[in-house]
Symmetry: C2
Subunit: 399 residues, 2 copies
């Protein structure tokens, strides 16, 4: 019998009625001959409600205690789902992080899973139980309760699938991964398959369907991850290693856009590599995430450098920059959309960038900056050009 | 530095404002040079709210999962109180049952504390922390979460005081233990001191101030327990061993009454001891709690037997009784108040029962049944006589 690890998000267990529906879906699946381990998030807005209690005490609540507080949301939904299964005559048991030895390390609020003890789960499965796990939480080496960050239950589910060598299914309120955000491009196509790396690029570019670390973990241990709608027969998307066998033979798989950055340009800064690296290190030390960087060739020992940073970090970043450039040589551009095309097929297909430039040029879309990775091309364009860019690229690459 | 274990009930931590007030009280107490361990109940009606969620799933929710569910209430208040202390600049840490190895056995929903690991608490106290403990919960030998029953946080607090050889203070929404329920007798006096056994008798007779097992535990290990109002300077009551030194030299300490029972009388039942014991064993096997039993001397091999049982169990009990007595020989009296006088002084003072009978006789109060223990006299009287009985006994014995 194969082990299936499922994860249900907060919207799927938001009410008692929905929890009962999930229980019915699980029973059907169990009757099909699967051993089920089910990871749940907290009901609906529970986590936000708990955080709001903490915020009434402190604008910056103690992180150990905040983790102890918000981890209770998942314990509640796990116990209720196990109860609902038992009420419907199916044996079930719920476990918290410490009961399955879900060991984590790192900072509170964004801990990383190191290992877990699969024995308790395996024994319960052998006893014919549907096993329910409180997601999002772990225990660190001091025995303190930790949490994995927003969306961390995805990572709980993949970690358990790794440990039990099962398959992993993430049920949520979207019916799969789309080539383009359907709110921005109505004709967006749902993908049947997407490669781990493509999904990681899309997730880091603002497509907030999945917890990034869950995808990294799936990729590392080659666990296919299904993403789809809960309690529905609509087919979702499988995240797995894309080979020539399952590749949809297209260079571009998806588009992601983000309006959250600004571009900073420094003119005539010294071309001395020590000065530039000192600037970027100082910015990084403040945990400010520099993304796109471009630099012109040096003329008379000076270069022009442009880079993007999150809007929210602009003021803090300016404090640093003032030590490296004269005020009249600092230019800020807030009219920036980061437009990214992602596709594992770019590794083997050339001319994607050239095709994009031709399209943009024909449609008078100005490209302000550009960066590329092996499977991604990102341009900074004007925000007013965003929808036009999505449409022409989606049509050209059949997304 | 002496260890003080305090417990705050649900009403004392019902809102964020009240939690902040408790934090301030703790800081004041800490500055007086005490090491503080603080056990908290769930905020306000949280436990009832969680039970109501479970009841929407099942009229009889699985008991293991119900414990997993309702134990989260105390984790929430513990984390919030630790947060509030840290926000006010005092180092604090919250622990759940598993973190302090609070080992229990017995049934879910009414587990008993077997032992605990005091090391983590002691180390945190040595580090200068105020230690907050989620009350009411434990871990059984399977590693499952258990709860101790309504009011179980009292027992958590006493158990910790035993382990750390500290003193125990229970803070609640009443300002102490009264000789008589002040709602029934306005002139009731608050007791400065009450003996463990007296308190146990009063608790079992319907005075619901304290969890009975917390008193038993305090008695077993001779831990004095203070009961009083939270965040107040009003002096409460100390539960401890009453000796001639601290005894208030009165035979009767308190009165308790209960209207929750009915009296069953069986006429002309066989005096064969096997038949009577079989009847009572069968009733006990159904977990029906028989309280007062009286039996007349046998005449012609038959006796009359009366006993009281909880009203709610009458129907179930009748099913059993029908096998032991003819219908015309079974009499039910629903007009019963159990009136109890409790006092450790009864051990050494004779004539208390005689004085009570004289009072009742002078005031035309009919005594239907009577039972006694070493420190208690209980009569079944008519419900209409209850208030009169309280007043005349309270006046006579200066309560």
């Amino acid at each position: 019998m194969s082990v299936v690890v499922q994860k249900y998000g907060g919207s799927s267990v938001a009410t008692i009625e929905k929890i009962k529906n999930v229980a019915q879906t699980l029973i059907k699946r169990s009757k099909e001959g699967n051993q089920l381990v089910v990871v749940v998030s907290a009901m609906g807005d529970t986590t936000d409600d708990l955080i709001s209690l903490a915020k009434q005490i402190s604008s910056n609540p103690d992180k150990r205690e905040l983790d102890a507080l918000i981890s209770t949301g998942e314990m509640v939904s796990a116990a209720l789902l196990a109860m609902a299964l038992k009420e419907q005559g199916y044996d079930s048991v719920s476990y918290t992080a410490y009961q399955i030895g879900m060991k984590t390390s790192g900072q509170h609020g964004k801990s990383l899973i190191d290992d877990m003890d699969g024995v308790k789960i395996s024994e319960s499965l052998k006893d014919g139980k549907i096993v329910i796990i409180a997601g999002f939480q772990g225990i660190n080496e001091d025995g303190d309760i930790t949490t994995l960050g927003r969306g961390g239950s995805d990572t709980t589910a993949v970690a358990i699938a790794v440990k039990l060598t099962g398959i992993c299914e993430i049920y949520t309120d979207v019916d799969g991964i789309y080539s383009v955000d359907p709110r921005k491009y109505k004709e967006a196509r749902k993908l049947m398959v997407i490669d781990y790396e493509e999904m990681l690029e899309l997730a880091s570019l603002g497509a907030q369907v999945m917890h990034s670390r869950s995808i990294e973990l799936g990729q590392k241990y080659r666990i296919p991850i299904y993403v789809g709608l809960s309690n529905s027969d609509i087919r979702g998307t499988i995240i797995e290693e894309v080979t020539e066998m399952n590749m949809e033979s297209k260079p571009v798989t998806g588009i992601a856009t983000s309006d959250e950055d600004v571009a900073v340009t420094l003119k005539e800064i010294s071309a001395d590599i020590n000065i530039l690296s000192s600037l970027f290190e100082t910015i990084a030390a403040r945990k400010i995430n520099i993304d796109m960087i471009s630099q012109t060739a040096p003329i008379n020992g000076g270069v022009n450098v442009s880079f993007t940073i999150p809007k929210d970090d602009l003021n803090e970043c300016m404090e640093i920059i003032k030590n490296y450039a004269e005020a009249q040589n600092i230019f800020i551009d807030t009219d920036i959309t980061k437009f990214s095309m992602v596709g594992i097929g770019m590794k083997t297909t050339s001319g994607v960038a050239a095709k994009m430039f031709r399209l943009f040029s024909e449609n008078n879309i100005e490209v302000k900056m550009i960066t590329t990775s092996e499977i991604r091309i990102t341009c900074a364009i004007k925000q007013e050009d965003k929808i036009k860019a999505i449409e022409i690229v989606a049509k050209e690459f059949n997304l």
